[in-house]
Structures are given as C-alpha cells and as structure tokens.
C-alpha cells in the first residue's frame, strides 16, 4: 500500500470507530432525526463541525492547508440535494454510514450500498445529459459563505457556534 492508502485506511478506522461509538450508524437514528424524535445524528454532526471549523479556519489563516469548496451550482445543489434527501429517507443511511452499519452487523445496509454503487454507475452514464441540463443552469463556482455575505469567517464561526449551542440546549430540554 502507498502512504496515501495507509493514511486513508487509518483515518477511516478512527472515523468508523467514532461513528459507531456515537451510535449514528443506525437506521433508527437517521430516520429518527428526520422524524424529529431522536437528534443524535445532529448532536454528533454539529459537534464535529464546530470543532473542525475552528481548526480548519485557523490552519487556513496560517497558510498550512487549502480550502476545498464544492461549487455552488444551483441546479446541482437543489435537484441533487432533493434527490439525495428522498433516497436518504427511504434507505435510512448515507454513503459513509451504510458501510459502517455493515461493520456493526446491520447487514441490511448491504442492499443500500449495492444500490448506491448502481446509482453511481447510472450517474456516470447520464453525466453528459445532466451536464447539458441541470448542471448548466447557473454556477456561482467554489465560494464560501464569508465571501458571499462579506463578513469575516471568524464572526460567522462564532455566530454558528452560538446558534448550535442554543439548538443543543433545546434538544436536551425536549429530550430528543
């Protein structure tokens, strides 16, 4: 294995370990959040985002790393985001968690994972069609929220954190 592959494998082992410890690999947790009955995946994701955000913004300010925004392509995000939402609700797993779910024995996630490989193949075949339709509507490129709003990234990070902490308090109060 190359350095790149070993690094990926080790990162994945830690990632899978933590996803399992946070109990977010369950169909019941994912659909539970969509039904507003169990917000575990939100507690997990938002905690990861806040910690990661401060580290990544700081390393970027120091010139240690590069940011890698995904394009704000209107059709891609709106149509793709909606399609993903439909599939996510029906399958009950997202791509990363489906693999982890199989790891903790929830083997029914295999069918979703196979479906996703098929879906990726279908997308590859339909790519020229999507490129000339949905993907060509409007593309604002790889932009960050700070540039769009004209507000310093640290201000946004602090506001984001405060809103998240208020949400956490609300989750705990409601017992969800």
């Amino acid at each position: 294995m190359s350095t790149e592959q070993i690094l990926g494998l080790v990162t994945g082992i830690f990632f899978g370990f933590l996803l399992q410890k946070g109990r977010v690999l369950r169909y019941d947790k994912q659909v539970g959040a969509m039904l507003f009955k169990d917000m575990t995946i939100f507690k997990f994701m938002l905690s990861a985002i806040i910690v990661g955000m401060f580290g990544i913004l700081a390393m970027h300010d120091m010139g240690l790393i590069k940011l890698s925004h995904k394009a704000m392509n209107v059709g891609a995000i709106l149509v793709g985001g909606s399609l993903f939402g439909i599939g996510w609700a029906v399958m009950g797993f997202c791509p990363g968690t489906s693999v982890g779910a199989i790891g903790e024995g929830r083997w029914h996630a295999v069918f979703g994972a196979i479906g996703m490989i098929v879906g990726a193949g279908v997308y590859a075949e339909l790519f020229p069609f999507f490129k000339s339709t949905v993907l060509s509507w409007a593309d604002f490129g790889k932009i960050g929220l700070p540039e769009v709003l004209g507000i310093n990234h640290w201000v946004i990070a602090v506001i984001f954190t405060i809103i998240t902490l208020i949400m956490f308090r609300w989750f705990e109060k409601k017992g969800i």
Binding site: L18, G22, F44, I49, S68, A76, E104, F168
Partner: protein, 184 residues
C-alpha cells in the same frame, strides 16, 4: 465495558454523541493537516466519490474500453485512493468498536422499519436498494453527501454545503414523515 450504562434493550449506549462528534472534528483537522503535509493535497472527509470508483472498477472488469471513454469516470479517476481506503477503514473501525463494547448485532430489518412496514427482509431490501440508487444519483449531482457537504463543507463554511445540507435534511424529513404518517 461492564461499567457502561445499559439501556432498556440491554445494549450498551456507547459514548455521548457530543463527545464522539467532537473527536471526529479533531480527526478531520488532523486528517486535513496530514494529507496536506504527506500527500501535498488537502483532503477532506467524504464518501460518495468512492462509490463512483467502485462502480468504475466493477464495470472495468466487464468493459474496460467503456470506462476509459466515459467522461465521468475520467473526471473522477477510477482508482483505489485515499478516500477509497478510508471507506474500507470505516467498516473495520465500526466492526472493532462494536465488538469491543458488544453492540455488534446481526440485524436483517431495523426496528423502526419493522414496526411500520413489517419484518419482510425482501421488502426492506428492495426499498434500500432503490433508495440507494436515488440517493447516490443525488449525491453525485450535488457533488457530496452528509460527509463531504455535511461535515467537510460546513467546516470550511462553503456556500454550497449550507444549502445542500438543508435540502438533504429538509426533503429527507418530508419523505420520512410521509412514510411514517399514522393511519396509512
């Protein structure tokens, strides 16, 4: 293990999602730093591109010429890269963790689904499979999933990720509530 809190199902409840999540944030920071230093490229946690590469690798064994000519496989590069190995790692990490705290369980149909739609494995399998197809077409179109957009994009304050996550979850919540509406 024995000191862990047991819930009513008799299964250990794991770690606080706040703690496990915060540690994933730390992992993301370390991982971006290490990939930048060791690979010369800032890699962020993500998952869905690997499914394209897996499809490409499988398809390649049947029709290599087609994969070599397909614009999307050329764009995403069909190879076992950092993210591909990370996805394999997720499987092992979850396996190790669940064996350690004895939460590993062979499950054919998830409890929430079973209560609403019954215990048929075939029914669950068909819906999972079809849901998987739709979800992945969406994820590839949006160029990310709840890992790539939801975690990594949000950490970087990407414009597209805020909107993508809102649609992922908003539409997901709409569909899930339709599926689980009472009296149907």
């Amino acid at each position: 293990m024995s000191e862990q809190v047991q819930n009513k199902g008799g299964e250990s409840t794991g770690w606080s999602p706040y703690l496990a999540g915060a540690l994933v944030g730390l992992l993301a920071i370390i991982s971006v730093y290490l990939t930048t230093t060791l690979m010369g490229k800032s890699n962020y946690l993500g998952a869905s591109t690997t499914f394209v590469r897996a499809a490409g690798l499988l398809f390649q064994s049947v029709d290599p010429a087609h994969v070599a000519e397909n614009a999307y496989y050329v764009k995403e590069k069909v190879k076992v890269d950092w993210q591909f190995m990370m996805i394999i790692g997720i499987f092992f990490g979850a396996l190790i963790s669940s064996l350690m705290d004895k939460s590993f369980k062979l499950e054919a149909v998830p409890p929430t689904w079973e209560k609403r739609f019954g215990s048929s494995i075939a029914k669950r399998a068909i819906f999972s499979f079809l849901g998987g197809i739709v979800a992945m077409i969406g994820a590839r179109m949006a160029d990310g999933c709840p890992s790539g957009h939801g975690l990594s994009g949000m950490m970087q304050l990407s414009m597209s990720s805020f909107i993508a996550l809102a649609f992922f979850f908003g539409v997901g919540a709409l569909v899930a509530n339709m599926m689980y509406r009472k009296g149907q």
